[in-house]
């Protein structure tokens, strides 16, 4: 995964609460066995009508927002299923970060694991950013090292777990990190009680 330092780009405002994973990537697109290529199906049922025609009003269909790299949305973003296809589709569409007042736990972890930066700001700050994003010419800058979001007349700090930050900033493979502790895993396995179930 690509290391993240400073993200500067256009915002796309999606001011809705509880945007769930079924809305982000509907189930009919979960049948692919590949990890990439989900971008065109992002928010599919908000972006296309029943006949498959583009709904021009939808924010991501507006030419002015075609290059957006930062999604700004409401609380409890990513609620619902564990499907990593949800952050994959956001990332595949060109987004590098999602800003919201809160995220669902599994979705947040999935973002960190694939290098899509989840940024938590307060309700008031997100509302302000949403207003600023109404003008598509306004860019936002997210500095991971400084944990800071800045744009015209706006500056806010965001919290992030130090280890998640370290991984995102360095693009670290979690499995490689864990395998550094292979001895500890071996030791734990030797101590596991015999009554624990196993297959085969």
């Amino acid at each position: 995964m690509e290391p993240i330092s400073v993200i500067t780009g256009q915002m796309a405002p999606l001011p809705r609460a509880n945007v769930d994973t079924d809305a982000i990537i509907p189930k009919q697109f979960l049948k692919r066995v590949e990890r990439s290529g989900f971008g065109p199906f992002l928010f599919y049922e908000w972006a296309y009508d029943e006949e498959g025609e583009l709904i021009p009003d939808f924010i991501l269909n507006q030419a002015d927002y075609a290059a957006a790299e930062v999604l700004v949305s409401g609380p409890n973003f990513g609620s619902g299923s564990s499907r990593e296809h949800a952050p994959w589709s956001i990332q595949d569409r060109g987004f590098k970060a999602v800003i919201a007042p809160s995220f669902a736990d599994i979705f947040y972890n999935n973002c960190v694991n694939i290098g899509l930066l989840p940024v938590v700001l307060t309700d008031v700050e997100v509302a302000k950013l949403t207003e600023i994003a109404d003008d598509p010419d306004n860019q936002v800058t997210i500095d991971l090292e400084e944990q800071k979001v800045t744009t015209i007349g706006f500056e806010a700090e965001f919290p992030i777990d130090p280890f998640a930050k370290h991984r995102l900033a360095n693009g670290l493979d979690n499995i490689a990190l864990t395998l550094q502790h292979a001895d500890a895993i071996d030791g734990f396995e030797r101590r596991r009680p015999v009554y624990k179930p196993a297959l085969g």
Binding site: D20, K27, V33, E45, G80, S82, N109, V194, P197
Partner: protein
């Protein structure tokens, strides 16, 4: 004297491979990894690309559930994408020596039904799966939660997961459950109180006399929907009900190992005096049969109530969500819930697809006929649930009433297979999510208990099951 601990703290501590010391996540050992066809192919592919092996195939169990058809299986899987996804899982399991309950295996079924059924879900375990309803297994006093595909790969490669410790929440439900009120109503009642994000960042322990009186099936229904309240995991302390359920099942320990396991299982209960970060108290007498009216599981009212007016919501985003929900659901504020007619009935899912759920619904259906405006189907949670129901003659009860009797799978809960709602169709569903498009584009889902779904099937509209005769 040691500090009193919660069950969740004990299970966590017993699985720490490496203590992160507060600056890094703890590395937790995973006792059981359940795998299905939708969230695993990219994990296996990445494993192959990095040349890593599956560390513990013997602690990994796979089945196919999300994409399988529930009728006409003799014709094979018609959807080429689903077929490829399922074939991929079959090939990955063969390659890595992972046990798979394939489409022709009577044990095939929904991943959260088969684990308990086989007795491989046990108290004190850590259990993960690339599916948010993994919280179901917490009903046994296990720490069980859903993970994404990157984490699936991590567990396949290392049998561990780095985890930051969540906070703890006690949900205490006390008192005798009123007649006609089920485990499904308890959890819908809890979610409507705490909200869809009320449990975010927490592991919930469901406690109290109402919970203790429930069967394992009821406990699974409750833990299953923890994620709909935002909590990755929900758990219930193991007790005599749990041990009786487990004893004699395929993977339950026997002889000396059973005695040893039992000692451990009894030791993991939350100590007297242990503290939770948050507690919620609910009086069972205040619960009723519920029906969801909106597009998230907290948008739920008692069957005796009416569709709420969005103007009643003080939070502007919640008000906006309610307005959107009424448009999507084609409902008017003030409409009594019992005036809402339904087109489809879905009885099944990891929430309510167990034998006890089928029995409860069949008791209501018995001798009745599905209303002429309704299309109803039963999708057992596993091949073994289906077999058991047929031995008890429940299939005949359902079929005589006009229900379709299907094969096991996730089916219309999420509509990844051909079982979907058509645009505009309205369903009474025993599943767990009523999100927009969940059961089919522009389909409208009302979440209910199996009993309420059965009564709606016969009446053609929602009815208060407490008045059913």
């Amino acid at each position: 004297m040691t500090t009193p601990r919660t069950m969740y703290e004990k299970i966590w501590a017993d699985h720490v491979v490496r203590d992160g010391g507060g600056t890094e996540p703890d590395l937790l050992y995973i006792d059981l990894h359940l795998v299905h066809e939708v969230t695993s192919p990219q994990a296996f592919e990445s494993l192959d690309l990095t040349g890593r092996a599956v560390r513990r195939p013997d602690l990994t169990l796979a089945t196919i559930d999300h994409g399988v058809p529930t009728t006409g299986r003799e014709l094979g899987i018609q959807d080429p994408l689903s077929k490829k996804q399922i074939d991929t899982l079959v090939a990955n399991c063969e390659k890595h020596g992972i046990e798979l309950y394939d489409i022709n295996d009577v044990r095939q079924g929904i991943v959260h039904v088969i684990g308990p059924e086989q007795g491989i879900t046990q108290p004190g375990m850590t259990i993960v799966c690339g599916d948010s309803h993994t919280s179901t297994h917490g009903a046994f006093g296990a720490l069980a939660f859903g993970i994404g595909t990157s984490e699936v790969e991590h567990v396949l490669a290392t049998q561990t997961l780095p985890q930051t410790r969540p906070k703890s929440m006690a949900v205490n439900v006390d008192g005798e459950l009123p007649l006609g009120v089920t485990a499904k109503d308890i959890i819908l009642g809890i979610i409507s109180r705490i909200g869809v994000a009320g449990g975010t960042g927490y592991v919930i322990e469901y406690r109290g006399s109402t919970i203790e009186a429930l069967s394992m099936a009821g406990r699974m229904t409750i833990c299953n929907m923890s994620i709909e309240g935002g909590a990755r995991a929900g758990m219930i302390a193991p007790d005599a009900t749990t041990f009786e359920y487990l004893e004699g099942r395929n993977y339950a320990p026997t002889g000396e190992a059973w005695a040893e396991a039992l000692d451990y299982w009894k030791s993991i209960r939350t100590d007297d005096g242990a503290t939770f970060d948050v507690a919620v108290d609910i009086d069972a007498a205040d619960l009723a049969p519920y029906v969801s009216w909106g597009t998230n599981p907290a948008q739920t009212v008692a069957v005796t109530e009416a569709v709420p007016d969005p103007a009643e919501f003080s939070d502007p985003l919640e008000r906006d969500a309610a307005e959107r929900a009424l448009v999507y659901m084609d409902l008017k504020a003030g409409t009594p819930i019992t005036d809402i007619t339904v087109d489809r009935i879905f009885l099944g899912s990891c929430t309510n697809g167990r034998i006890e759920d089928l029995r409860a619904a069949a008791a209501i259906i018995d001798g009745n006929t599905v209303a002429s405006n309704v299309h109803a189907m039963v999708v057992p949670g596993s091949g073994l649930v289906k077999l058991q129901a047929e031995e008890e003659g429940l299939d005949v009860v359902f079929k005589n009433a006009g229900f379709e009797w299907r094969d096991a799978g996730c089916s219309m809960c999420l509509g990844m297979n051909p079982d979907i709602l058509l645009p505009g169709e309205r369903a009474a569903s025993t599943s767990n999510r009523n999100f927009e498009g969940r059961q089919g584009r522009n389909g409208r889902t009302h979440l209910v208990s199996p009993e309420m779904a059965a009564a709606a099937a016969v009446a053609g509209h929602f009815v208060d099951v407490r008045e059913w005769s």
